[in-house]
């Protein structure tokens, strides 16, 4: 309940009390220390902790949050069910191998939930109701049981108050000295059924794995578009990133479930409405290759957000995936390729482009032109490769000076630090009369007294010889 109304309750020290029909429904640790406990009346709580923030319970927000968590959990298994009392049931039996065993998947689920700023406890067992009970037990005792026999031992020790079906008969059961599930199970079955009804017995059988349980699995929406309204106004991009992480975790779950991958991500940051109203800031993140992995996208978004300065405080954050493509199939090669797969390389390009800008990550895009400065074109490495022009068979220098540097002359010889000796040439380039960039040049390879090779040219259309340094041979 607190997660839905005040996401940072577990880290900040404010006293928060959630009220449901004038009764305290949940308290933060600070408020608990002041003496407020669940079940108190509103007036009583207000006297004990006058400085506490009183929040009204909102079932819609709680449901929305559970829904978002279910969406994020879809990346681990397609079988997610919403259970009573704010619980999610995950059938992970088919995913254990992929996520490296029960401990591995448990660690990843914890990590995802933490990224979504949810405070949750986990239980793991061979039956869904058993796991539900283990997750809800107090601070003590193990929460993971993957063998039926040891699950039974654990369940036998659990207090009866955990079983919702037994709450109606709690007083009667306490009266006959039955405090744990184990004690309840040892009672004669027929008599118990007659006195407390089939519901309790059924719940026990389901938890102990004696009869199967039917779940209504969660189905993901067809389009992903989520928006989070913030409680506080965010002024720094690092805070925006923390919230966006939550959205990305949900999106990743949705993508895995639908077997889709995104080629572009749009994060919109909405600003205050009113006097300082301004349109939402849109942050587009184009990707070099389709991606769906939450960690990769979160990393990219962090680099991107670090470069952005917010013009106004943000009050809401939305995430959209305008177009999705089929998720690419996993490489089936037996041995790992040296240097990683093409997807690894694409991830590198994405990462570099997110921080430096897509224009700073370039690949050759040589044009078929005789003028070196026109032929030397580079384009961004993000996106599709262009067909290359046929390679020139004349060796060109590795470095080009842009623009060419005018050289002085010394005793009729070009001079750059020391007099240059022409060692090869001329190569005559005369082209570009049709587009205004007329080049009438004689190119020479020249050497200075330190034996460094330069590529210089002399403009031919002037009476006075003008020399330019255009390149260096690497």
């Amino acid at each position: 309940m607190l997660d839905a109304l005040r996401p940072s309750w577990s880290t900040d020290a404010t006293e928060c009390i959630v009220l449901d029909h004038e009764h305290v429904a949940a308290v933060s640790p600070a408020a608990h220390r002041s003496g407020v406990s669940v079940g108190m009346r509103k007036s009583g709580a207000a006297i004990i902790a006058p400085q506490a923030t009183l929040l009204e319970r909102s079932p819609e927000k709680e449901h929305a949050l559970l829904h978002q968590a279910a969406l994020a959990m879809l990346q681990y298994t397609p079988e997610v069910a919403l259970a009573d009392d704010h619980t999610l049931l995950l059938n992970v039996s088919a995913s254990l191998m992929l996520f490296k065993g029960p401990r591995g998947i448990s660690r990843r689920v914890t990590h995802t939930l933490r990224a979504m700023q949810l405070n949750a406890t986990q239980g793991m067992a061979v039956t869904a109701r058993g796991a539900w009970l283990l997750a809800r037990r107090g601070q003590t005792g193990p929460r993971r049981r993957v063998r039926l026999a040891s699950l039974h031992t654990q369940l036998n020790q659990l207090p009866l108050s955990l079983l919702p079906a037994a709450q109606k008969h709690a007083d009667w059961l306490r009266g006959i000295g039955c405090h744990t599930l184990g004690a309840l199970r040892r009672l004669p079955r027929a008599g118990l059924q007659r006195r407390v009804g089939t519901e309790v017995v059924r719940a026990m059988d389901v938890a102990y794995g004696e009869i199967p349980e039917v779940h209504a699995w969660f189905t993901a929406p067809l389009v992903f578009k989520q928006r989070i309204e913030l409680i506080e106004r965010l002024e720094h991009t690092s805070a925006v990133h923390a919230v966006a992480q939550e959205l990305i975790a949900q999106m990743s779950g949705w993508l895995v479930h639908r077997q889709r991958a995104i080629t572009q991500l749009i994060l919109s940051m909405e600003h205050e409405i009113g006097r300082h109203a301004r349109p939402p800031t849109q942050l587009a993140l184009p990707l070099a290759a389709p991606a769906w992995q939450a960690s990769h996208l979160q990393h990219l978004l962090k680099e991107k957000l670090d470069r952005v300065t917010l013009e106004a405080p943000v009050v809401a954050i939305g995430l959209e995936t305008p177009d999705t493509v089929e998720m690419p199939a996993i490489s089936t090669t037996l041995f790992p390729e040296p240097g990683g797969t093409a997807a690894d390389h694409m991830r590198l390009l994405d990462l570099l482009a997110a921080r430096l800008g897509p224009e700073q990550v370039r690949q050759p895009n040589t044009q078929a032109d005789h003028r070196p400065e026109t032929a030397n074109q580079w384009r961004t490495a993000i996106g599709r490769a262009t067909p290359a022009c046929p390679p020139a068979d004349i060796e060109r220098p590795f470095w080009l000076l842009d623009p060419p540097e005018a050289l002085s002359t010394h005793q009729d010889k070009p001079y750059y630090g020391s007099p240059l000796t022409l060692v090869k040439g001329p190569e005559r380039i005369e082209t570009g009369w049709w587009d205004g960039g007329l080049a009438v040049r004689d190119y020479f390879v020249a050497q200075d007294k330190h034996y460094v090779h330069y590529w210089i040219y002399r403009e031919r259309d002037h009476h006075a010889a003008r020399w330019y340094l255009h390149g260096l041979f690497g």
């Binding site: 690894d344 700073q360 580079w378 470095w399 034996y451």
Partner: protein, 233 residues
């Protein structure tokens, strides 16, 4: 029976030998240079520092044979080059066809970050990184990142940086010479080199009639404590 120390462990070597187990190496394409490098080539996954007074002393012609032997599907990354690289060189008929990547960060700190990311990712075949001022801590970081990859990693720095300390196991000073390049191996895993190594490089202009250089400078003059090199025939 006592073993000689150089047979105790593969990582031990005598001060007058080259290191015996420096890890995987890529032949440089010049037998005389390979003979002077521990492992017989450019070490892979190691920070290699090259110092030159200016760009254009022949560094690319020196590295080209080694780069040509690397997988042609993996790109060669150029990070923060001092001038504009010529795409006509990269796609020309004299260079093997392979992808190239030019990363042009605006700030030096971004350049260091980009180089580290390229090394960590490991999808490129080689990384050439030009940087003027690198702090020793950053060098160590780059060297560590390089060790986790199988890439050839050259850091090209100005001559003045040669006097700074560095964790790089191989540091070479390059100087242009007539019809070639002179290499002075400043640091290597092995004995210090008493002479300057001359490597005959193809001239950038292939149509010149190639004569054997007659005006080559004599090797480094004998200094105190160093044996005089054998005269060139």
């Amino acid at each position: 029976m006592t073993l000689p120390p150089d047979q105790l462990h593969p990582s031990l070597w005598r001060a007058n030998q080259l290191a015996r187990n420096p890890g995987p190496c890529q032949p440089s394409g010049f037998p005389s240079l390979d003979a002077e490098l521990p492992g017989g080539g450019w070490p892979v996954g190691t920070l290699i520092e090259l110092f030159a007074a200016q760009a254009g002393v022949g560094e690319l012609r020196l590295l080209a044979p080694a780069l040509a032997q690397l997988s042609l599907h993996r790109p060669v990354a150029l990070v923060h080059p001092p001038y504009t690289p010529n795409s006509a060189y990269c796609t020309g008929a004299h260079t093997p066809r392979r992808p190239w990547l030019w990363i042009a960060p605006e700030r030096p700190i971004d350049a260091l970050w980009a180089a580290e990311q390229v090394l960590k990712n490991g999808s490129c075949a080689a990384l050439l990184f030009w940087q003027k001022d690198v702090r020793p801590a950053s060098l160590r970081r780059l060297h560590l990142a390089a060790q986790s990859s199988d890439m050839l990693f050259f850091l090209l720095r100005p001559q003045a940086a040669m006097r700074q300390t560095s964790p790089a196991p191989l540091r070479i000073h390059l100087q242009a010479a007539a019809c070639g390049i002179e290499l002075d191996i400043v640091k290597r895993r092995g004995p210090s080199m008493n002479h300057v190594l001359f490597i005959d490089l193809p001239t950038p202009a292939p149509h010149i009639v190639h004569h054997a250089p007659l005006d080559r400078r004599t090797p480094a003059p004998a200094r105190a404590g160093r044996p005089a090199p054998v005269l060139v025939n």
